[in-house]
Symmetry: C2
Subunit: 350 residues, 2 copies
């Protein structure tokens, strides 16, 4: 069956067929075709137009206790979506409304409306609700400002510098008067971070002498390290951390496909020793658990910055559900350039 | 030369003769005898009556960059002292005044008064200024309350539970309505923590099944872990940490004598993964750098608690400078029982 096209009568969904060992591959996913569900009184029928792909989804594919339940085998992959209301039996929504939902990797879903957020009709692009004005934006804003507490003149380092979160972290840090060093995975991404996003420097983490390069540009050490990556990037950051450095711990994408711990020596005590001696604060956070109550504050600030062109935002748009799995596998390898979003269907399905 | 007695005409000092590799031994120290110095105008001559021995001193013996400069070879070992003013050529001090100083492992020192804190004459014992009302007290108070932020009904775990800091952490946590679990190094210490200090439980870290014991008593997980120890104790604490747990990182005494990192696997990413997934805050602090401006707040609270007998405080008093090195070596092995203080001389030297 051709799954490339969204239609009115078929609900395509991508389910978790087997749990990955290491990097996921196409065999871990299965496409199902079903009749779209019918809403009951009080419900709406959602049609997904945009689907967000994010690194956290890799964790949900594992059968391990985490901050969220794992996806069960046979269940639809989870994810935030921007949807249109196709049918409304709920007084709070009208057909044609744009909403932010969490309906996963599929075309159609039902909702009682409680888990939906209306998207203002004047938004330049409804898909921005999945990025700069959504979860990644709130993550960047709160992680940097609330945990990182950057001060004017301090040095902020952010890895995955052109990703959905990292690109916003660096730009917000520049707005706060910091020196910003990005780390990214290609020369093209580094040039973009400096030329377009206004970072002071951006280093390619694939270069041989990353540690020396980072030391050269961080002339006053590192005050805030926004951690998206872990692994080798953290190794080169750690020695340069200043006393009282802050580390908002947002993600560890380099570790998500790991099947075992690296070989020794065991550096856990080394990390704790550094945290002690340098009086470092390292803090993990999950944006919707910790900060959803501050969404309005963030949304106002970010909307203003966007309207003043103080923040730039790049989407990496993929067309069609049939490219979703490959795009997700590529995301974990850093192949995307900007916020990864899949367009599942047209704005209006006739 | 007999060094056992403090006299008016000889300044005994213990200097760092060589840097330890691993655990310090007596060969690392050298005793010197010199004429006591003579104060100039504006200075006072201090005579040390009590010397505090603390784990941080081990770090200062290494030639590695840390939050404080290493002690140079040939220099007197550093340390907080409670002194009497023997001669005053400074208008702010009178002969016979008790002061808190940082004059190190020796009998006599000069000061211009700026680094001295007067000890109130009504203090039950002037040596309390080295413990419950001094650096260890401030460390326990600020680390627990400012970084740990314990809430009524939460579970607080503290290792080195009968030590200078740990015993106060647990008692303050009880005053805040928490369930308190101590970890200590002998059955006698554990009994003291429960029977005298009022901890809910105290476990012997030398027992074989510490992990299972801890899991049994922490029925609701661990919300605050006050870290004094590191190593094996942290290993058993880590899996029991609750979401949003806080870890004030105050010391890592189990690591201070380590000469190399433990064998692998490398668990650094495991620790960071736990901090991320559980949204943990781990924060190092150095009490005088971070909290000296809040000493008065602490002092008022602690003085009140002591006067109301809500806080108990135990000193492990050693007699004489000639027992100092052995006492310090024993401190790093957990042989002390209570705050370790050396009495160098009598209250009044005639």
């Amino acid at each position: 069956m051709n799954i490339s096209k969204q239609t009115k009568n078929n609900n395509r969904s991508i389910t978790l067929d087997s749990r990955p060992f290491g990097a996921p591959n196409t065999d871990n996913f299965l496409i199902k075709n079903q009749k779209p569900p019918s809403p009951l009184q009080g419900q709406v029928l959602l049609r997904s137009v945009y689907l967000s792909l994010d690194p956290y989804m890799r964790g949900r594919m594992n059968d391990t206790k985490s901050y969220a339940e794992p996806i069960a085998l046979g269940e639809t992959m989870v994810g935030a979506t921007v949807c249109r209301i196709e049918i409304s039996l709920n007084d709070n929504f009208q057909e044609g409304d744009w909403v932010l939902a969490f309906s996963g990797w599929q075309d159609y879903a039902l909702s009682d409306g409680k888990d939906l957020l209306k998207i203002p009709p004047n938004l330049a692009n409804p898909s921005f609700a999945l990025g700069v004005l959504g979860m990644p934006g709130l993550t960047a804003y709160m992680g940097l400002l609330d945990i990182g507490q950057p001060k004017t003149g301090e040095t902020v380092v952010v890895a995955a510098a052109t990703g959905a979160v990292g690109s916003l972290v660096g730009q917000i840090a520049k707005l706060k008067g910091c020196t910003v060093i990005g780390i990214a995975g290609s020369e093209e991404k580094c040039a973009y971070a400096v030329d377009q996003l206004g970072f002071d420097h951006c280093l390619n983490h694939k270069s041989d002498n990353l540690a020396q390069q980072l030391e050269q540009v961080c002339t006053k050490g590192i005050d805030v390290y926004f951690e998206n990556v872990g692994g080798r990037v953290f190794d080169v950051v750690m020695p340069l951390l200043n006393p009282c450095a802050r580390i908002p711990l947002c993600g560890l994408i380099s570790q998500y496909n790991a099947t075992e711990l690296p070989e020794g020596p065991d550096r856990m005590s080394l990390l704790m020793g550094s945290i002690l001696i340098k009086r470092i604060k390292m803090q993990g956070f999950i944006v919707f658990d910790d900060y959803s109550h501050r969404y309005n504050e963030f949304s106002q600030a970010m909307t203003l910055w966007l309207s003043e062109s103080k923040i730039k935002y790049r989407e990496h748009l993929i067309e069609g559900l049939d490219n979703t799995v490959d795009a997700f596998i590529g995301l974990l390898e850093g192949k995307n350039f900007g916020k990864l979003v899949v367009r599942l269907g047209p704005d209006d399905l006739i």
